[in-house]
């Protein structure tokens, strides 16, 4: 069974100044699985995926990707990990100095020594997979709507066919229909690539739709994990309050 673990996190701690954001996170991600981490704003969801990708250095704890420890290792190991990871950022994080297709093909051109002409063809093909036409390939990101930017971001994340994809609040800021389009694209591309995915969100509709397994992060710890079915039946008061979206319950709203 342990062979199938893609990412294994143990006792992860991270604090900023006096504020403990991650307070001993334990989490396992199995190969091919879609795990969704839910939790309120400011509970450290983003910090968690930034630690896994080496964008932030945890204070203590262990993160193993394919059995290789990445915390406090030399940066070469983390850099080599990036070639098998892709990430869709919350705001898209498209490079605004580059055109849409240059964004999508960025990794191909910079790191995989593929000619510009070939890279553009591949980029347009991937753009088509996320439902965008070749006509927007030469536009700049600022000329696109929010939903289109998210789709370009998705295309950029999957073009290198990564084994692990991270989604940071993929549906935030989109209308319900566009959110559902993005959800479908996430499921589709994960299935197509056979990728392991880790999504963080507070959008329960999205979580229910794309998750194989759901984990809830509260006060820097994973307090509950289970399948979507188990989610509906759980009597964990924290989870119940969160999925019902109620201001009354054990989760104190920060003042």
């Amino acid at each position: 069974m342990s062979n199938d673990i893609k990412i294994s996190i143990r006792n992860l701690h991270k604090s900023f100044g006096k504020k403990n954001v991650l307070n001993g996170v334990d989490l396992d991600l199995y190969k091919g699985e879609s795990l969704v981490v839910i939790g309120g704003s400011g509970t450290g969801k983003s910090v968690l995926i930034k630690c896994i990708q080496g964008l932030l250095t945890p204070d203590s704890g262990s993160i193993k990707i394919d059995g290789v420890e990445v915390v406090k290792e030399n940066s070469d190991i983390i850099e080599s990990m990036h070639s098998k990871m892709g990430m869709l950022f919350q705001g898209g994080a498209l490079f605004d100095s580059l055109t849409v297709w240059e964004n999508v093909a960025f990794d191909l051109i910079q790191n995989r020594k593929i000619s510009k002409k070939e890279a553009k063809i591949v980029a347009i093909k991937v753009l088509r997979q996320v439902g965008l036409g070749a006509d927007i390939a030469d536009l700049y990101p600022s000329e696109l709507s929010g939903g289109m930017q998210k789709r370009v971001g998705l295309a950029r994340a999957v073009i290198t066919r990564p084994e692990i994809i991270f989604f940071d609040e993929p549906t935030t800021g989109l209308d319900p229909i566009m959110a559902d389009v993005i959800n479908d694209l996430i499921i589709e591309s994960a299935k197509d690539l056979g990728a392991t995915t880790l999504t963080i969100t507070h959008d329960m509709t999205s979580a229910r739709k794309i998750a194989d397994k759901i984990a809830m992060l509260y006060q820097g710890k994973i307090i509950w994990t289970g399948s979507v079915k188990e989610l509906e039946k759980t009597d964990n008061p924290y989870v119940r309050q969160f999925i019902q979206g109620s201001s009354k319950g054990p989760i104190a709203v920060e003042k």
């Binding site: 964008l55 990871m85 892709g86 990430m87 950022f89 994080a93 498209l94 490079f95």
Partner: protein
């Protein structure tokens, strides 16, 4: 009682000091890391050339105007101060020395700091707060190599070229005032200028320019890279970049002058 007072006193003194030392350490680490990545491939030549164009070519009009008027005003001031002496050769020599050693490097660097340092910080800072720098990392691209190194190389190499052009324009400014306003003999003025031409004066000015270029790019990148907190954060970072690079330029100007000319 007294101990309490001393404790409070030390605490108010200590807090900013610790903060200052921490940011100094942070800056040092950033500088070392940046220099390391300047020498380790991959190199992004296209981005380097783009920066050469931005920092160098597009700064030419500003630097040209600055040094032209600097040379002109020095000629005029020197004339009003030294009119009793052998004016032609004195003025030619004062213009030459002050422009090549001080005015061209310092004024050009300050103008470029305002023009380029601010733009650099705003660009990198916006990339930071919109997670574009994180995106670079996840796309297996080191931001120090992709963003910082091309700017450092361009700043270091292009400022001496700019200042050299500034030297010529500044001396020409002095010449214009000398000939057309003060009525000197052109041939005598030019001879006097070339007689006083010293390699060390020019070279010290160009060394200064290289150091200033490095400072401008370094401060621009550092403050942009470390900015946080949205539009306001980027705004503050931009101000800090221009102020800190201007002050560093003036400090290093003194230090380099001392290195070259004091015995």
């Amino acid at each position: 009682m007294i101990i309490n007072f001393v404790e409070t006193f030390l605490r108010t003194l200590g807090k900013p000091l610790v903060k200052f030392l921490a940011s100094l350490g942070d800056l040092t680490a950033f500088v070392i890391k940046s220099i390391y990545h300047c020498f380790v491939p991959p190199f992004y030549f296209k981005l380097f050339f783009k920066q050469l164009l931005d920092i160098g070519f597009y700064s030419l009009p500003v630097v040209g105007l600055t040094t032209l008027f600097a040379g002109m005003v020095i000629a005029l001031q020197t004339y009003s101060g030294f009119s009793g002496f052998k004016a032609e050769s004195v003025i030619a020599s004062v213009v030459l020395i002050s422009v090549t050693r001080e005015l061209a490097p310092v004024l050009s660097a300050l103008m470029v700091a305002g023009r380029i340092g601010a733009a650099m910080t705003a660009e990198i800072g916006t990339m930071r707060v919109t997670e574009q720098i994180d995106a670079l990392v996840t796309l297996s691209t080191n931001p120090f190599k992709y963003l910082v190194a091309p700017r450092l190389w361009a700043g270091l190499l292009v400022l001496p070229v700019l200042v050299f052009i500034g030297d010529i324009i500044g001396i020409f400014g002095g010449y214009i005032v000398g000939i057309y306003k003060l009525g000197f003999n052109p041939a005598n003025y030019i001879t006097a200028t070339f007689e006083d031409l010293q390699i060390i004066g020019i070279v010290s000015g160009l060394v200064k320019a290289a150091v200033f270029g490095f400072i401008i790019s370094m401060m621009g990148c550092y403050h942009g890279y470390k900015s946080k907190g949205g539009a306001q954060g980027v705004g503050n970072a931009t101000t800090n970049a221009v102020v800190s690079s201007s002050i560093l330029i003036l400090i290093f100007n003194y230090l380099i002058t001392e290195m070259f000319f004091s015995r």
